[in-house]
């Protein structure tokens, strides 16, 4: 199965626009994205942002759901450690992230596709660089042929 995936990548790597789902916390990263806007920074339009109050709200199912529905990458944005608006929600998020990273790897999803970034409200430029970098990396990895239902891939 992997082989076919690789081939497919080589073919499509050219005109391929990755689809990325981004979960941003309301207090840091979402504001950073707004700041990037007000300061007119430019980055690729591949990401679709979904706002949650805190990165701690992120249920692993959300990420799996995003991949299952055809996302080529998932980006989680939260406050820097120690800066969480809710004291420690981002730590909870970090814990789940590490577990989940293993799981998705098992399912054949490369590292670059699933990222957690700490971006504070004042780091508009950082958000920009992360966006650019993420899109580049995922574009390099090619499309994620994973629209197949989760459990199927899981067993293969």
């Amino acid at each position: 199965m992997l082989e076919t995936v690789k081939e497919a990548k080589n073919q499509e790597a050219t005109a391929f626009e990755p689809r990325i789902v981004a979960f941003f916390c309301n207090w840091c990263t979402y504001l950073a994205a707004d700041l990037a806007g007000t300061s007119r920074m430019k980055y690729p339009p591949n990401a679709r942002v979904i706002r949650v109050m805190c990165s701690g709200r992120l249920d692993p199912q959300f990420i799996l759901k995003a991949f299952a529905d055809g996302a080529d990458g998932v980006l989680i944005g939260g406050c820097h450690p120690g800066d969480c608006h809710y004291q420690e929600g981002n730590y909870k998020c970090l814990r789940r992230f590490h577990l989940l990273k293993r799981v998705v790897k098992e399912m054949g999803i490369e590292d670059g596709r699933f990222r957690l970034e700490w971006i504070s409200a004042s780091e508009g430029d950082r958000l920009r660089t992360v966006m650019i970098d993420m899109v580049e990396k995922v574009r390099a990895l090619g499309p994620l042929h994973w629209n197949a239902p989760v459990e199927e891939v899981a067993v293969s």
């Binding site: 626009e17 689809r19 789902v21 207090w27 840091c28 979402y30 504001l31 994205a33 707004d34 990037a36 806007g37 007000t38 007119r40 920074m41 430019k42 980055y43 690729p44 339009p45 679709r48 942002v49 979904i50 706002r51 949650v52 109050m53 805190c54 701690g56 709200r57 992120l58 249920d59 692993p60 199912q61 959300f62 759901k65 995003a66 529905d69 055809g70 996302a71 120690g82 800066d83 608006h85 809710y86 004291q87 420690e88 929600g89 909870k92 789940r96 504070s120 409200a121 004042s122 780091e123 920009r128």
Partner: protein, 698 residues
């Protein structure tokens, strides 16, 4: 939950925001696309949705087309969510049947490809429609506001804010880190452009603070802990001991005279280390409170080593022993601290018994509804620029040192002399923008340096009659009667040279430079390099955030720019608000500014606080978690996760969320294995729909 999907009628509104959005996103196309989606009854694009006609559009459509869900694609919800909720409510719908799509800050403003941007907008709108279908009607919870206010920082900003609130009959706790209030303004000699003396206009306000029945002043104190939320903050303040009881001390200052140190010996922080003080001292004559302090680091009664607070070491200036330029620093004092003193101060105090070496720090727990941060700035450390020679050449001064030097009650009683203590300078160079507008130090313009440099030029000329050279990159005098002041200086014959000084050096090119400091600079207006020998160099240092700004930020749970200034909620429309409700900013902790602006901002902060207090309550976003009882298995996973211990465990083996304590982070919801915990406004099914919505092409 089918009943909520039944008879759903969605209205979609795509805002052009003039050309801000329409310039990149094809709003018409987005609206047309939305019109074709299921549940959508009305779909329009409009120039300004936030305008009255725009809001009316929503209201009328709700009534006309029996809409029961609204989607507005416009700017960031942080800006206009409230506006459109109100509009929705005006139409007779529950405001939480409205959802916003951010196609400005996070789309049109950050992308250049029209097609891709439009596509993105459509995706987001599609997701919002699928989400709004599931949204529930919600009611905001009301939380009463505690009328007491905490003001942190006793500079002019804190003082003005405190007085304003106190005069409005609210009780204010004013907490100041130093031994006296007054901040930097108390150190200034005169204030630009009117040249009225800083002390004359500040000290009355200082004593007013002391006298005011509604103000509790805690100087020499630090805020240690902040809990709670808007309207109900719980704050712990540590009042560091002065070893003198404020309630018993009459401020006679006889203890100071009586100190075993007959001559003041130690670097005097208030005078930037130019003057000397005793171990027991009052920062300056008009200090408020009028209670002296005993400094552990230098008083021989205490002999254990202590770490020197940053201000002390900073105020040593460049010239602590052994260079012998200035006075002994605490480091050296400690060497002969015996730990056994005659305690002549105690005798002097007599039966007042105000002095007590056994006194301990006091902890105070207070409840306040709102907090105003006015923690101010710290001057740029001139030592960071080696080629200006501060700390190397004795006669290089910082502007703050000069303020003290020209001040009549300063260390030199207004006699402007060089560090040798006698020579009056015949020529003085004032270098602007020291540490400011420089990628290697601070990038920003500190806003006040041009004007205070002009002021110092005037004062120094007045005091010494010396030739004064101002070296500026750009002369910035944008303020009421600032330009006039510049003109006045020009007419006074002060030299103005446009160019950033490249070096302050003692190497001699021409015999006339022997024994002087030479400034090498390109006079960019003449286009030639000049060497100008002077006796005294003044470095107009810029402003930067306190080095502990990040800790303070964490303490109050607000945001802070990488430059170390606290971030306002909106640069134009919410300049004194922070992203944390009930916490406001005043003065230079938010960014460099002069005294008039600081006072104005302090007033604004006070007004914002009053507005909350007078309303009597705040409405809280109804986004707290709740338990679906029949599905809770009682596994207790959620309980330890909650940072506010809002979740309790009932006898009937079910978890319960206390809506007053819950702040709606949703961490517990994400962890619940049975899915019986949910968060209002962010229900699992709503988010699933949104995820599907952005990805699945309809």
């Amino acid at each position: 939950m089918p009943e909520r999907n039944g008879a759903v009628r969605v209205g979609v509104y795509v805002c052009h925001c003039g050309s801000n959005i329409a310039g990149i996103v094809d709003c018409k196309e987005v609206a047309e696309y939305a019109a074709g989606l299921i549940h959508v009854v009305v779909s329009r694009d409009y120039k300004y949705m936030c305008s009255d006609p725009g809001q009316d559009l929503i209201r009328n459509d709700i009534q006309e087309h029996k809409l029961n869900r609204i989607v507005v694609a416009a700017c960031s919800p942080h800006l206009h969510e409230h506006t459109f909720r109100v509009a929705t409510a005006n139409g007779g719908l529950n405001p939480y049947y409205m959802t916003m799509v951010n196609i400005r800050e996070q789309d049109s403003w950050v992308h250049t490809d029209r097609q891709a941007a439009t596509e993105k907008a459509s995706d987001l709108v599609r997701a919002a429609i699928r989400r709004v279908v599931l949204q529930r009607p919600l009611e905001k919870a009301r939380v009463p506001i505690d009328p007491n206010v905490l003001v942190v920082g006793g500079g002019i900003a804190g003082i003005h804010a405190a007085l304003t609130l106190a005069n409005a009959g609210k009780h204010v706790y004013l907490v100041e880190r130093e031994a006296t209030i007054g901040g930097h303004m108390a150190m200034f000699d005169k204030t630009f452009p009117t040249l009225d003396c800083a002390a004359c206009i500040l000290t009355p306000k200082m004593s007013a603070v002391k006298a005011h029945p509604n103000i509790t002043l805690w100087a020499y104190s630090d805020v240690e802990k902040v809990d709670g939320y808007v309207g109900n903050y719980k704050v712990r303040v540590r009042r560091r001991t002065r070893y003198i009881r404020e309630d018993l001390c009459a401020g006679c200052q006889e203890c100071i005279e009586a100190c075993v140190y007959k001559q003041p010996k130690f670097a005097d922080e208030f005078n930037q280390g130019l003057g000397k003080r005793r171990p027991i001292y009052l920062p300056f004559p008009q200090a408020i409170p009028q209670t002296p302090v005993i400094d552990r680091d230098t008083c021989i009664e205490f002999n254990e080593p202590r770490k020197i607070r940053w201000l002390t070491s900073l105020s040593q200036g460049a010239f602590s022993a052994p260079r012998g330029q200035c006075c002994l620093s605490p480091h050296f004092a400690r060497l002969w601290k015996s730990g056994k003193c005659k305690k002549t101060c105690l005798e002097a105090c007599g039966d007042r018994h105000a002095i007590d070496f056994k006194l301990q720090d006091q902890l105070e727990e207070i409840k306040v509804g709102t907090i105003i941060l006015a923690t101010g700035f710290q001057p740029f450390d001139a030592k960071r620029i080696p080629y200006y020679g501060y700390g190397h050449y004795p006669n290089v001064y910082t502007s703050l040192e000069i303020e003290r030097l020209v001040n009549a009650s300063g260390p030199a009683a207004g006699e402007v002399v060089l560090r040798d203590g006698k020579t009056v300078p015949k020529s003085i160079g004032i270098i602007h923008c020291v540490g400011s507008r420089d990628e290697n130090t601070n990038r920003w313009c500190s806003r006040v340096c041009c004007m205070y440099s002009l002021k110092l030029a005037h004062l120094l000329k007045e005091h010494t009659g010396a030739d004064i050279f101002n070296f500026y990159i750009d002369m910035r005098t944008p303020g009421k009667s600032f330009e006039e002041f510049y003109q006045r200086l020009l007419s006074e014959g002060v030299h103005f040279i446009r160019g950033k000084v490249a070096e302050v050096t003692d190497w001699v090119f021409d015999p006339s430079e022997e024994g002087k400091l030479t400034l090498r600079v390109e006079d960019t207006l003449l286009g030639v390099v000049r060497r100008i020998p002077v006796d005294m160099v003044v470095l107009s240092v810029g402003m930067e955030g306190h080095q502990d700004a990040q800790d303070v930020r964490r303490l109050f749970n607000i945001t802070c720019s990488t430059e170390g200034f606290f971030q306002e909620r909106h640069p134009k429309l919410a300049p004194v608000n922070t992203f944390t409700d009930g916490i406001f900013l005043a003065g230079c902790c938010q960014g460099p500014k002069d005294i008039p602006d600081t006072v104005a901002q302090a007033g604004a902060a006070a007004a914002e606080a009053l507005a909350l207090i007078c309303a009597g309550y705040v409405e809280q976003e109804p986004n707290c978690a709740y338990v679906i009882e029949e599905e809770c298995s009682g596994c207790k996973t959620c309980i330890p996760l909650c940072p506010y211990s809002a979740i309790s465990f009932r006898e009937d083996n079910r978890a319960e969320v206390n809506p007053v304590l819950c702040k709606g982070c949703g961490t517990c919801v994400a962890a619940c294995p049975s899915g019986s915990l949910q968060q209002r406004m962010f229900e699992d099914d709503e988010l699933f729909e949104e995820i599907e919505g952005v990805l699945v092409h309809a």
